[in-house]
Amino acid sequence: MVNQLHFSDRLKDIPWAATSSSLENINRKDVETALQREGRGGVQDLVALLSPLAAEHYLEEMAQLSYRITRRRFGKTVRLFAPMYLSNECNNICDYCGFSMNNQIPRKTLTDAEILREAGMLKKNGFDHILLVTGESSRKVGLDYLAHALDLLRPHFANLSIEVQPLEQQAYDTLIEHGMHAVMVYQETYCPHSYARHHLKGKKTNFDWRLNTADRLGEAGVNKIGLGCLFGLTEEWRTDALFAGIHLDYLEKKYWKTSYSMSFPRMRPYEGENIVSVELQDRDLVQLICAFRIFNHELEITLSTRENQLFRENILPLGITTMSAGSKTNPGGYAEPEESLEQFSVSDERSPREICSMLKDKGFDPVWKDWDKAYDEPKIRNLLSPVEKECLTA
């Protein structure tokens, strides 16, 4: 039986202040132990690896180890995917996001024809793994819209994931039957105070509802869950990252058939006021990526086009397994680039082809396809073949 307690229940017993000070109380022995046992000490090792002390004295060793673990587990490969923005409609007011309801921007939700046109552009560029993104509007882009979009796209792509508003478990059950592979649901920040400061209106103001989304996904048996913080929202970013790690550890032990990915977006300027409360430096991001790789050898780590070209190339070997390329963050952006406003500005603007040749120059094999529709067939209830029916009745 699945334990009915969710992560919000667990979080009540982990006070922010005490967690924060645990990072300050790390000594050299703690970091050295974590490195020596390659992070197999669990959350205890993550605390050591995320500490300011580790940043000061052990960053190079962490990078070396992270590099070795990543190659051992993933080889010299990088998976490529592209986001497809379906809608910028949103019912939330969040002070950092371009889609925020109070922003006076043209709103757009793609029609069937527009979705297929975007699909054609992405397909032409070689993509087989697509992340469908929307703002959070259950009226404009609710369950029916999402299920329909999956039906439209399933024949054309090997792997479809979503990044949309948190849903009920039953809705996830339905989307899985329509061929949804993974769900990205970033908590943005695990600090309730900071969360309340940045999420001002709409369903996203409910911290626990968002936090427990990953539990609902785990119970639905989704293939993969993407976690992450938006770095810049909360000053104590090490603590924030540590909570993300605690969340990951909790999920992995409870929903052991699901795999996990993590993303480390740093806030970037967008059209609107600048509310960044802390600016994450390059070396901070390197520490985060290496710490998480050592903590979790199998974790998929995604690098977005928010980061600039030079930084992306340098950080690539240190633990990254997945990256987007040639991304457009506005609905319809691949077919008609300038039509509606972006969610955030893209920094690495190279085309997928250029990214591909860069990867090859650096000795990596770009991987466009790492899934197949056949794997999802048994879950797609309405498409049962005679063999499948036979299996179910046997």
């Binding site: 051992r72 070689g126 795999s259 199998e298 790492d370 048994p378 063999v387 499948e388 179910l392």
Partner: protein
């Protein structure tokens, strides 16, 4: 023989297909079901593989746990049974469990592929004692899969009487994969030759080559 995960194969594309790198006149492609979580999914993928690659051969791997990729014995047995009925040549990846290997054989497996140690770890034959029992009991070829991190591990498996080994990580992460491939080939040949030649047993102390009871004639 080279095994290819069906999720990675892209028979319709000539740009991203791992198949393009394999000279198919020289290597036999063995599709595998890596990524499936249960027997039902495995059967679907097997059917797709048969259609796409025009082969009945299948390396069956079912690991519901994406962290350590441990094979699920129950689902593997169910899928082996069904796929063998459907005419597949099933080579199941499994734990080094002698009873399971016999059950797989009974279910119609054409070989068994027990693990040496957890996949990708390069730890060698941690399951050595169980592999010995499996090899002794098996009526089908035993292919040691997973954990083979060095040519010496491969040699050891062949010395024990295994029919073959399956290696990936050790080659993939080598600085010079082709040379490492050659090293593995030589080690497999050496191990097999040693097995066929009859290895001497090991002892804690020196044993006289002229036994004391020779005079009994």
């Amino acid at each position: 023989m080279v095994t290819v995960a069906m999720k990675r194969a892209n028979p319709n594309s000539n740009e991203d297909s791992i198949l393009d790198y394999l000279p198919q006149d020289r290597v036999k492609i063995l599709p595998n079901t890596s990524g499936v979580r249960d027997a039902k999914e495995a059967i679907f993928v097997a059917q797709m593989a048969r259609e796409a690659l025009e082969t009945n051969w299948l390396k069956l791997e079912i690991h519901p746990d994406p962290k350590y990729l441990m094979p699920d014995p129950v689902e593997t047995l169910l899928a082996t049974e069904e796929l063998a009925k459907q005419g597949f040549t099933v080579l199941p990846y499994c734990h080094a469990d002698p009873v399971l290997c016999k059950r797989l054989e009974d279910a119609g497996a054409s070989a068994v592929m027990p693990l040496g140690s957890p996949i990708g770890t390069n730890h060698g034959l941690k399951s050595r004692e169980f592999l010995k029992i499996i090899i002794e009991q098996s009526n089908v070829p035993v292919v040691v899969d997973a954990g083979i991190g060095a040519p010496s591990h491969a040699s050891e498996a062949l010395e024990l009487g295994a029919s073959a080994v399956l290696v990936n990580t050790a080659l993939a992460v080598a600085n010079d994969p082709p040379s490492m491939g050659t090293a593995f080939r030589k080690s497999v040949e050496a191990g097999r030759l040693a097995y066929l030649s009859g290895l001497g047993s090991t002892h804690q102390t020196a044993q006289p080559t002229s036994p004391l009871t020779a005079f009994l004639g």
